[in-house]
Assembly symmetry: C4
Homo-oligomer: 284 residues x 4
Amino acid sequence: MQWPSKDVLYTVIFGTETPAGRRFDLALIVAILLSIVVLFLDSMSSARAHIGGTLYVLEWTFTLLFTLEYGVRVYCAHNRLAYIRSFYGIIDVLAVMPTYLSVFIPGLSFLLMVRLLRVLRIFRILKLFRYANEANVLLRSLNHSRRKIMVFFSSLFILVTLFGSLLYVVEGPENGFTSIPLSIYWAIVTITTVGFGDITPQTPLGQGIAAVTMLMGYAIIAVPTGILSAELGREMRREYDMRHCPLCDKTGHDKDASYCKYCGGEMEPKQDPEAAAAVAAEKD
Amino acid sequence: MQWPSKDVLYTVIFGTETPAGRRFDLALIVAILLSIVVLFLDSMSSARAHIGGTLYVLEWTFTLLFTLEYGVRVYCAHNRLAYIRSFYGIIDVLAVMPTYLSVFIPGLSFLLMVRLLRVLRIFRILKLFRYANEANVLLRSLNHSRRKIMVFFSSLFILVTLFGSLLYVVEGPENGFTSIPLSIYWAIVTITTVGFGDITPQTPLGQGIAAVTMLMGYAIIAVPTGILSAELGREMRREYDMRHCPLCDKTGHDKDASYCKYCGGEMEPKQDPEAAAAVAAEKD
Amino acid sequence: MQWPSKDVLYTVIFGTETPAGRRFDLALIVAILLSIVVLFLDSMSSARAHIGGTLYVLEWTFTLLFTLEYGVRVYCAHNRLAYIRSFYGIIDVLAVMPTYLSVFIPGLSFLLMVRLLRVLRIFRILKLFRYANEANVLLRSLNHSRRKIMVFFSSLFILVTLFGSLLYVVEGPENGFTSIPLSIYWAIVTITTVGFGDITPQTPLGQGIAAVTMLMGYAIIAVPTGILSAELGREMRREYDMRHCPLCDKTGHDKDASYCKYCGGEMEPKQDPEAAAAVAAEKD
Amino acid sequence: MQWPSKDVLYTVIFGTETPAGRRFDLALIVAILLSIVVLFLDSMSSARAHIGGTLYVLEWTFTLLFTLEYGVRVYCAHNRLAYIRSFYGIIDVLAVMPTYLSVFIPGLSFLLMVRLLRVLRIFRILKLFRYANEANVLLRSLNHSRRKIMVFFSSLFILVTLFGSLLYVVEGPENGFTSIPLSIYWAIVTITTVGFGDITPQTPLGQGIAAVTMLMGYAIIAVPTGILSAELGREMRREYDMRHCPLCDKTGHDKDASYCKYCGGEMEPKQDPEAAAAVAAEKD
């Protein structure tokens, strides 16, 4: 077997157009997912007790594989430094580093968590670019609403501090509200309607204030929802109004309209190759 | 009493137009609901202890009745193979099979659950076709929003993995976060604001991260709601599928369209009395 | 002091226009609220232990007062039979009956609950007619969406039966899922994101299915919200489109517009006295 | 060092335009946040046990600093009485008063909570005026929807009283529903989907009624959300308060209005560069 050239390697590893490239991507996704399953199993004491040795071997196998992959990526990248400094270049290093470090610095379990960043590597392969436009509409709506959302969150923080402190005073440490920060934590648990139930008011007054907290949390969720609904509606209408009829100049045409719905005039096709490509890419 | 002809049987069993057909449908709904009540009672140990024998007899009675009904359906169907292979034909078999199998393979409780599919048989009778249009508007909106919803769920999964793993590192097995998968389960319980409270953070840092998780879950529910509100609003404004182009027969035209957006053909104004009646019927 | 005439009594008791009528209404609201507080206190064992005698006396005082009020209402009503058969006439009787019945049939605590219907008597006095239009917009929107909401609830019931039964099979009685109805109850607790935590899955598989249940409940709440948002938006726009400019015939004018915003032409005032009254009543 | 003049002090303390003013503001925010951290720590028994003395000293340091600041503010204010009587003037006093009072009246922990109002002082510095417009849109939408929201809350209170009382009768004190007020508290916990789980129904009938309560709470949250979405959508489409009628100076005109809807006067087209800039600034 002949050693593949740098260009062939690049096409296989970085590209997705060739059958070999797609097979490589598929194998990589499987390897990443399996390595995450190994991580998950390694965190379960019963699994570690029974198949700890196997998990250890598997973890090193995946680490060496990913290290090899990283090496080949650096070797065949058109611009090595750019790749090393890129977002995914850093993720690729962080995904294998902890296993090597754990040899020298044992017991640093939080360090091993860094390996979970491997999950981000899947996104590179899945080419989430396809969904970029959808994410853009969402992000643009969030961005337009960001000041309304800030006003909402500021009000929420004041409410939570107020109700938490009130409950601390009313219920006190003997009913589980041992400090103001813990009481504010309780208020967040309650106003978001999570309601763990590990700390609950015991006095009638405390339960009354808690009831008000809940009703507020229940009602004010309507605020961010309303903001975003209205903003997304506007954003979508805007997308809808982007085409003009060349005859009657009216807007409001669907993206797939070929003729003006008002005067029957032929709509201009999206002839700009770049725009058409963008539209096509956006469509599928 | 004369034995009814195949055609009469078909009208009674498959049809809903004749009084006899309606009486049969009503009796069948009652029988299905009663057989489900028997299933429910059979799962309650106290009921089984007291009236276990009666439940056993009732279960076999319903099974034999449904088997008989299935036999008659096969006998009088216009196209027997088509019926047997149809969705409801398969459901009809699955609804009685487990009881027979339980004689040979005892103790397979999950097999008995298959009988719950009987509930789906009710839908055939209720002719949910009436609601098909409503379901279509909902499904079309969901379909249009599917990519935005995928972006939302992808973000949700990343958040849940991130916060779950963080809590596993911060709280650890001694506070109930015994493994990463369990911690991710906890993060889902928290971010969806369910909040069972069987596992709760005990350290101040863990509670702080949990508070962030809750606030996120509380706020980001606005995203799918906003998406669907905006999409449904657009879908309703359009109320499409109501008008067809007389030239190309395509649907999906706006209420104010005078020309087909696909072929430019003139759309008929809404003068057809039947269409108006249909619109009125649809409206109320 | 002279005994008041039947007409004067009617004005005071049924009317709200005279100062005496308003004073009577206020006194009645206070009496009703106090009698409900007595009911609440009577249900608390500690209060009953300390001031049980006082509560007993108060309850009889309010009962006799309300009986007297009922007698006077019957006496001075323009149409006695119509009053006795009216909604509030029946509520008035139900509000006092249980106390009398409790003398003969002791221990029927659920009977005493009927007295809580007294709270409905407040609504008569508050004349909630003022809010009737707002309630109408809400009810009309709910009515228009009722079929979409039925589709939503049917899907919810199927999901809840499915997931509840699944959990019953997976977790079983040893983990608290003692019967299918209880498991369906658990599924409702989970899918609505209430999450009491009295029953929770213990096996990894059960927790996985529970996570799916939660995510579904978290996401599908968007459906009824989206339906109602879109419907209310339409309902509001319709209210908005009810006025036409007599000059340019364009719609979309605010309720308080005096001039057309497009051509500056004077808008017709709402001259129809009935419509004007309705608008005025609606406005305040 | 020369003692600064009254005017210089005013610019530094009340103003935000000069570098000195900004440095002062930053120092004040840090001091306020630190004093709140001290308050939080002081409420934690473990922190009080270890560094109680330090916390005591810090609390007095911050109190004296804020007292000094208050004195200087009164000294250099243009209108002393106006400042003292203003909202922030009162907050400034309330933020230091409790510490002094605690010397004379020990053990009044709820009094010390008043110091948490210090958090409101931050808002003065952050000049939330920038967000005033966003808050206005939200408040205006809430104001327009207030009657629909009142109808919603009235219905919610009736539902909660009804279901709470029902559960009290069905479950009774032996299952934790010890009184009607507590049962109503439970109903609020359930209908808002908080679900602490400290009180849960144990009988099948109680669980059935609880399931209905949950489904209601889960579904009716759609009502306030729908109301606010529709109202915010309308408010945004309008984007009013941006244009004034040159004749009658009234605001509240739609974006497409050519004539004032109140006086019929011709509206100015949007050509004013400053207005355009303001609109652009508002948009981003």
